[in-house]
């Protein structure tokens, strides 16, 4: 039998028919679709036992109590802690913590820069090298040229750093300033006590906010939101005064656009109305007996802050000012808020004082719905560090930033002065710099100046967990654990009753990182002598345990320890009264409000920054999830948008999305424009928190860091940076 083509065809036909009656084609069809349902490159999350660990979020200064959901040893989700505690809440940043924990921009091991390249080193090696350098510096009697920039001054970790500097022999412990520094100043100047304010927004019935970003990240955002929602539930009023229809202004019952920088003038104008109409009598406040300097103040506002003048300066109608003042005083428990935006820039002291006079006139101190004057938690009672002669000598050297003396007598730290001080000397007055819990190279205004200064500093050690802008300028990085991996006490003082929270490790450190507290203790121990003696603790955990003592048990259980004793501290010393004007305030030449930098002719527009909950602008940068929430009218591809009133845009021949060159006295940047009816003509605004050069591909290069465009303006009263914007000009590209 010959096999021919016909047989072959027949065989094929048979095979085909046979296949149809076998499971092969059907099973393969099913399996191929199942294959697409379980592609090997699609991750399958491993399952395991779920557990919940409470901790305190330290991604911003809010310090919320949060709950971390874990599956096995993985952190899966951050959630609000279900509790009635005022400190329990969560915001977009806290919700991002799992992403931040596992972020690709985490620094995975200590690094050392060798010929501009990072080399991995061990913790031991890093500590040894730092100690070696510091020993040399000390030998050269230059211990005071060690400086430390710390993100905060409260809590044991900053205290350990400050203690290290003291023991080592340097006065140059500098913290990153914020509006809280000004709050402290305002109250120490007028109430005569070292106290911090807690604005009782939730219980107020009339909140006037002078540009405070109540819903844009100010204070503890979660608590502020909650307070606002209570206001809404109770149908109470919120008035927002600022040039831009911010999220806060949008939620307010009334938005009063004001020419930026004149908020203080408006406050004094309102004071004038209140005093002129004697509205304060409604409050049964007899000013001659319970306050000081009232008559002088009254004379001042009557002279310089007439309705007409104030209206002209602020751009707010006279009747609106009068109505606002009247409504404010008519209210049962009014409160005036101050501090711009989220409060990351301290701002003008006089402006804040001016607004706070309204609180004084309303007599709302330590009253429900008013301003509580509270003392800061004081629980770190360590023995003084042991100082050897070298330390003792240099500790009394002049602070580099000049804080605490001369015209800067009011300030404790003046980070903003540092770049100028470094740049103006031939060689850097800082030989060695610690940077902890902060990213000053990114967050400080006038980036060029800051960069010059940082480049001049011979040796920088960063303790950052992330490859941020400052860390990438460092010579050695000793990466800190992420907050979910470490113990730390978190002091929260922003607008709430001060509390000490306990951040607890939720997972074991996932990388070769070291707790900054442990790092500084190790460095001290490596230096030996009195410095080592000043650090009697084996490690940070024992230090914390000893410091917190019994409180730690409460905190382990409740997360927070709230100091209830602080209320009575205000008006404790000095005259025992609220002082409108006193000797100290007279020294600061009252009521100079800070204007924007730049010639009006050359730069007809004014650039202001705006803060957004969706863009973290501080030490912690955006998670990919957060960046995902940012609107395409803020960032498109890598272009940043500035907001501009359509009228102003028309003057510059700019349409929605058109590209423009933005020039300020400090720099230039290519931007796109977003037409926004919610911004005052002549003003342009830009979000803060973008334009990172560090971190990962989810963030790097998106937009522009507004600090590159804005300069610093030294507040004549306090020395802090009081810049709220800068003059600018736009050109169509």
């Amino acid at each position: 039998m010959k096999i021919d083509r016909r047989n072959f065809l027949s065989l094929g036909a048979g095979a085909t028919a046979g296949l149809a009656f076998s499971p092969l084609p059907w099973k393969l069809m099913d399996d191929s679709s199942i294959w697409t349902q379980n592609w090997p490159w699609a991750p399958v999350p491993t399952d395991g036992e779920a557990s919940y660990v409470d901790t305190v979020c330290s991604l911003c200064s809010g310090g919320c109590g949060i709950t971390i959901r874990k599956i096995g040893d993985r952190v899966v989700k951050a959630e609000k802690k279900d509790s009635d505690n005022a400190n329990s809440g969560i915001c977009i940043l806290g919700l991002s913590s799992p992403q931040l924990l596992y972020s690709p921009s985490r620094i995975k091991t200590p690094l050392k820069k060798v010929e501009d390249k990072w080399v991995k080193i061990s913790v031991k090696q890093a500590v040894a090298e730092i100690a070696e350098k510091l020993k040399g510096l000390r030998k050269d009697k230059l211990s005071h040229t060690l400086a430390c920039i710390s993100g905060s001054s409260a809590g044991t970790v900053p205290a350990l750093f400050e203690r290290f500097l003291t023991a080592y022999g340097s006065p140059n412990f500098i913290t990153v300033p914020s509006v809280k520094d000004i709050y402290k100043l305002v109250f120490s100047l007028t109430c005569g006590a070292s106290c911090i304010p807690a604005f009782d927004i939730a219980n107020s019935d009339f909140v006037v906010s002078f540009g405070t970003g109540l819903l844009d990240g100010w204070g503890n955002p979660a608590a502020a939101f909650k307070a606002h929602s209570i206001l809404k539930d109770n149908k109470k009023q919120l008035i927002q005064i600022e040039p831009r229809l911010s999220n806060t202004a949008a939620k307010a019952d009334k938005w009063l656009p004001i020419i930026p920088g004149t908020e203080g003038v408006l406050a004094l104008g309102m004071a004038n109305v209140i005093i002129g109409k004697q509205l304060y009598f409604n409050k049964n406040v007899l000013f001659d007996s319970v306050t000081e300097g009232f008559e002088e103040f009254k004379a001042l506002v009557e002279k310089d802050y007439s309705l007409e003048a104030v209206s002209n300066i602020t751009g707010i109608k006279q009747e609106d000012i009068t109505a606002l003042a009247e409504d404010f005083m008519k209210a049962q428990s009014p409160v005036a808020l101050f501090g711009r935006g989220e409060g990351s820039t301290p701002g003008s002291l006089h402006e804040m004082m001016a607004v706070n006079f309204l609180n004084a006139l309303a007599g709302n101190f330590n009253k429900t719905g008013g301003v509580y004057l509270l003392s800061e938690p004081d629980y770190i009672n360590w023995t003084h560090p042991v100082l050897d002669d070298a330390a003792y000598y240099n500790i009394n050297a002049k602070r580099l930033d000049g804080a605490g003396e001369g015209k800067y007598f009011l300030a404790k730290h003046l980070l903003n002065r540092l770049p100028e001080v470094v740049n103006s000397s031939k060689t850097s007055p800082i030989n060695f710099l610690f940077v902890t819990d902060s990213n000053p190279f990114y967050t400080m205004a006038d980036t060029k100046l800051v960069e010059e200064a940082f480049k001049k500093i011979p040796f920088i050690v960063s303790f950052s967990s992330y490859m941020d802008e400052t860390a990438s300028m460092a010579d050695i990085i000793l990466p800190n654990h992420f907050f979910l991996e470490r113990y730390q006490d978190i002091v929260t003082t922003c607008g709430l009753k001060p509390a000490v929270g306990l951040s607890k490790p939720v997972v074991n450190p996932i990388f070769n990182t070291i707790h900054s507290g442990d790092a500084i203790i190790s460095i001290a121990k490596a230096l030996g002598g009195t410095i080592a003696e000043s650090f009697p603790w084996d490690n940070y955990e024992t230090c914390l345990q000893e410091t917190l003592e019994a409180k730690k048990d409460v905190m382990d259980k409740e997360l927070f320890w709230i100091d209830e004793s602080g209320v009575s501290n205000a008006f404790a010393d000095s005259s025992g009264k609220f002082e409108f004007i006193n000797d100290k305030t007279r020294q600061t030449k009252p009521y100079i409000f800070v204007d924007a930098q730049g010639e009006k002719k050359k730069y007809p527009l004014t650039l202001i920054r705006f803060d957004s909950m969706r863009i973290a602008s501080g030490y912690t940068a955006n998670s990919p999830f957060m960046t995902k929430t940012v609107a395409d009218t803020v960032i498109k591809e890598n272009d940043i948008f500035i907001e501009i009133n359509p009228k102003t845009a028309a003057e510059y021949n700019l349409a929605e999305r058109s590209k423009a060159l933005l020039t300020t006295p400090k720099g230039k940047a290519q931007v796109r424009v977003h037409l926004y009816e919610g911004i005052m003509p002549g003003i342009i605004s830009m979000p803060s928190g973008l334009g990172h050069t560090g971190y990962d591909s989810y963030l790097t290069g998106k937009g522009i860091n507004i600090n590159e465009l804005i300069g610093q303006i030294e507040d004549p009263a306090s020395g802090f940076d009081a810049a709220w914007g800068i003059r600018a000009v736009l050109a169509r590209v």
Binding site: M29, S33, T36, Q37
Partner: protein, 412 residues
């Protein structure tokens, strides 16, 4: 070289010339194939579709080719069911065009879905309430019918015709072709109608949604009717194009004239129904949902009222009028204009029903969504054109498509 394959009594160009022509088309085809492979292996990020444009160019192309391929079922319906026997002279070509259109539609759908390997779920796990299920079922069944209608023609190839089995099979199939044609018409009525329903049932999309009788049977009717009207026009257009390319008369004028006349009447009646539909939609349906007609034709850079005018007046009423009047049909230039306008008209209709539906905002705080296709989308949409041209070229060369060709072009 391939003379054994060429039908008797007709003249074809040299194999060399034919090869060059095919190669040129293959180059275009390859471009489309590359784009297709990119879409399959890299995913649909190769397109410019987005979350506002889940349906875009491909779905339009699908709807359009199915409408244009409607010439097959309707000509079949006319010949086998109604009994217009002259149409036997064009039915072969109508079937071939139908096969091309329907295979193209299925191919485009296979590229369009995100998970082609699972696309059989549409059959196995069918949701009988979904228009798309109905479309998928009828479409694939009808394609089977079309292939069955095409096979006898294929078997008439001189080489294949020599096999007795195939010859008999071809003969037998011819004999009961009316059954297949009837089934085909039945299936076509359904899927053409369902394609209309695809947009019409979207009650979340006021631009597409029709209510009451205007969804069923009206929208279904509109789509079936327009396919029946414009499909034959497309068959005529391609026939004329083929005549132009081959430089031969292939179908007698009276055949074309008959088909065109019927198309004209179909188009005319369709356009009346369409106007009625548009009027009811604008006057009653839209206001109930808070819209007025102009909302859908303003505030955007592309979709103006012109598109409605173009669809209904220029590409509807005008070609219908020309095709209905015998004078219009006699005037060669006018006739071809009408045929082309009708084809464009149905394409505009399908475009509007798909893309304008996606473009128009529904939530008050959203704006119009504009879209332009990526090169991959364009290439894969042109792919069927190249594939169709190749298919037709081979079919024309080796199959006796046009029964009147020998008579009209006697070889000396």
């Amino acid at each position: 070289m391939d003379s054994a394959l060429i039908p008797e009594g007709v003249k074809r160009c040299s194999l060399g010339r034919f090869s060059v022509w095919i190669l040129a088309l293959t180059a275009i085809l390859l471009w489309g194939v590359i784009a297709m492979l990119l879409c399959w292996f890299k995913g649909l990020n190769q397109t410019n579709m987005n979350d506002a444009y889940g349906f875009a160019l491909w779905i339009w192309a699908d709807l359009a080719v199915i409408a244009l391929g409607g010439g097959a079922f309707f000509t079949g319906f006319l010949k086998y069911i109604v009994g217009k026997d002259e149409l036997k002279n064009i039915i072969n070509y109508a079937v071939i065009i139908g096969v091309i259109c329907y295979t193209s539609a299925l191919l485009l759908l296979a590229i369009d879905v995100g998970q082609p390997l699972r696309s059989w779920f549409i059959f196995w796990h069918a949701n009988v309430h979904s228009m798309l299920t109905e479309v998928a079922f009828c479409l694939s069944c009808y394609l089977v019918v079309l292939i069955i209608e095409f096979l006898p023609l294929l078997f008439e190839n001189p080489k294949l015709d020599k096999k007795p089995f195939l010859r008999h099979l071809s003969h037998n199939m011819h004999e009961i072709m009316a059954v297949f044609a009837a089934t085909g018409a039945f299936l076509s009525f359904f899927h053409q109608g369902s394609l209309g329903g695809v947009a019409g049932v979207l009650f979340g999309r006021p631009f597409a949604f029709r209510e009451g009788v205007f969804i069923w049977p009206w929208t279904f009717f509109l789509f079936t009717w327009s396919a029946a009207a414009c499909g034959p026009c497309f068959t005529i257009l391609i026939t004329r194009l083929t005549e132009k390319v081959t430089n031969k008369k292939l179908v007698k004028d009276n055949v074309v004239d008959l088909l065109a006349k019927i198309s004209g009447w179909m188009l005319g009646t369709y356009i009346i129904a369409k106007i009625f539909d548009t009027w009811y939609w604008a006057a009653y349906t839209l206001p109930k949902q808070g819209f007025s007609l102009i909302d859908f034709y303003s505030n955007n850079p592309f979709y103006g009222i012109w598109i409605l005018v173009a669809e209904i007046v220029i590409c509807g009423i005008i070609p219908a009028a020309i095709l209905i009047s015998s004078g219009g049909r006699k005037n060669k230039r006018l006739f071809m204009t009408a045929i082309i306008l009708a084809v464009i008209g149905v394409c505009i209709n399908r475009w509007v029903m798909v893309l304008q539906t996606m473009a128009a905002p529904v939530m008050t705080f959203e704006g119009w969504f504009m879209y332009y296709p990526s090169w991959q989308e364009v290439a894969t949409t042109i792919l069927p054109v190249a594939y169709g041209a190749i298919f037709i070229s081979f079919a024309y060369r080796y199959l006796p498509i046009f029964p009147q060709e020998r008579e009209l072009n006697p070889i000396d």
